[in-house]
């Protein structure tokens, strides 16, 4: 079974803190994605990566950065957390190049609260 794991299920951080969200997949997938999920807004893509050290901005990259040093790991970084970044963060991976036409496999999500 494909497995996508995220480092934390729940996280509480203070405004201004630097926050790292980690995602690991075990299926040798080329593509990895970070979304945030908010009620009524669905899933919005923050960043994605087609390969190691490659990244592409999604729809809402402001306030976030990413790192992909190894194929299996994709990190989301909040440089200076703000209260409007309180959300559920979902990581996903899939295969398929150059366009991701194949189903995504999702992690369980990290519910981040910024106070």
């Amino acid at each position: 079974d494909v497995k996508v794991t995220q480092s934390s299920r729940y996280l509480v951080k203070r405004t201004g803190e630097k926050v790292f969200l980690e995602c690991v997949q075990d299926m040798d997938h080329e593509n990895m994605f970070w979304y945030r999920q908010d009620p009524g807004l669905g899933l919005r893509l923050i960043y994605f990566s087609y390969d190691v050290k490659m990244k592409e901005k999604g729809d809402i990259p402001e306030g976030y950065s990413v790192s992909r040093e190894k194929k299996e790991r994709f990190s989301l970084i909040l440089e200076s957390a703000s209260t409007n970044q309180t959300s559920m963060y979902l990581c996903a991976s899939n295969t398929g190049s150059p366009l991701p036409r194949y189903e995504q496999y999702f992690g369980p999500g990290t519910r981040l609260t910024v106070t």
Binding site: R44, F48, A92, N94, L99, E103, Q104, F106, G109
Partner: protein, 108 residues
Amino acid sequence: AQSVTQLDSHVSVSEGTPVLLRCNYSSSYSPSLFWYVQHPNKGLQLLLKYTSAATLVKGINGFEAEFKKSETSFHLTKPSAHMSDAAEYFCVVTLPNFGKGTSLLVTP
């Protein structure tokens, strides 16, 4: 460019009646289309996918969807709703373009 519109943010049905969740898309090339389900406090799970094979796609839990190119639609249906179908449903066109979701409520 690709985009997807889920036409209803909330749908309420009675148990045992049919379910219809509507999804329209736009795509500049032949799309891949997906439906995902998310039960409360659970992760996203693939229901079904269309990738240019048969236009009628069968998924898990009795759901199916029909790809209609002329109508640019990919509506999700189920003949008879079950209480366990209550969840959030997402239509996706050629990843990673997610719709905003439709919340399905099933009443006894």
